[in-house]
Symmetry: C2
Subunit: 185 residues, 2 copies
DNA sequence: CAAATTTGGTCGTTATCTTGCACGTATATA
DNA sequence: TATATACGTGCAAGATAACGACCAAATTTG
């Protein structure tokens, strides 16, 4: 969120430096004040889209080149530190490991189903696809009135723009990883 | 510029309607106030990038899907109505027909060189490519200390991240169209 | 070395984005 | 008919983006 500002700022500054442009010259080219450019570069200000448009146009850049994150960083997500979303009286627990991001266009969850749990999921918008990787237990998924049995280490892929049901009919717990991809054409 | 705002607004409204979401619900999902959403949809406000980020994330959209222009419109550009950029004492005239746009990543000019005109062009940034389509007369272009003679109806393509010279050594006027493409990886 | 220019930044003011609240309309409900 | 619910928009207040003028350090120039 906040890092988003800093990212754009770093991108602009990097490109400006590569081209040996001063803030003054850049201001002249883009029509955005020097002060604003400086603040944006330092992440002190979140530009409006019209300002960003001026910068992109003046510098002859695409939006993606300004927005793209420079992330050579390593991130480790500890499941214990993630607050699960509880449903079905605690029998169905969703751990958001990787939140959605307009760049990557997907999100990743770890999901746990207690024995006997049946969870009815709302259909997503059109173009959404789910990838379910079962780690422990046997998961049953109902899509299009068809029951699919997914064994451990197996993966189920389906278009999730329709109602679907997750079910644990076994005796032991079911743990799986779910990747949800949003196409938005 | 201003149409840019309206474009984003229309995109958001269209997607929101497709999903049968109210402004209230959308506000709840995205964390952006209902009032703001309404104003953005109506093009009354240019959101900051953080606000746009919230909208894109909440609605699970990419930036491009929000930014992309819906343009089934036909546009006709009359050269007579375009103000040329005059250089070399009026011997070198540049008519910007299609201005740069962060989406398309290129711009189009019509260029006229009077007989005897020699124009020295500044090198562009790396990754820039020029496409020169000669319509009338014979154009000479110097790149990398090499002289290229471009006859009418012929096209010259070269990487323009180095100094280059346009020259009209003939007796009659030279008219050509130039497409400049900016890669910005 | 001193003057001049360039560079990036701060300060105060203005414009505008952003919000919560309230209002009007429309549709459904009792 | 009256009540309730949902929907989008107008209004005033607060926050903040955007600008122009001014300042200090670094670099260039004479």
């Amino acid at each position: 969120m906040e890092e988003f500002q800093t990212n754009i700022g770093e991108n602009i500054k990097r490109i400006r430096k590569e081209r040996n442009l001063s803030l003054d010259k850049t201001s002249e080219i883009t029509g955005v004040s020097k002060t604003m450019l400086g603040q944006i570069e330092r992440g002190k200000s979140a530009p409006t889209i019209t300002t960003l448009w001026k910068i992109a146009s003046g510098l002859r850049l695409s939006f993606s080149s300004l927005i793209s994150q420079y992330k050579p960083n390593v991130t480790i997500v500890k499941k214990k530190e993630v607050n699960p979303i509880i449903e079905n009286n605690g029998q169905y627990r969703v751990y958001p490991l990787v939140p959605y991001n307009p760049e990557q266009q997907f999100e990743i969850f770890s999901v746990t189903l207690e024995p006997g749990c049946e969870h009815i999921a709302e259909p997503h918008t059109t173009g959404v696809e789910e990838f379910i990787l079962v780690n422990e237990g046997t998961l049953e998924v109902v899509v299009n009135e068809q029951v699919y049995v997914v064994e451990p280490e197996d993966t189920l892929i389906f278009k999730a723009d329709r109602p679907h049901i997750y079910r644990n009919n076994g005796d032991c717990i079911v743990k799986c990883s779910i990747v949800i991809h949003y196409s938005s054409q």
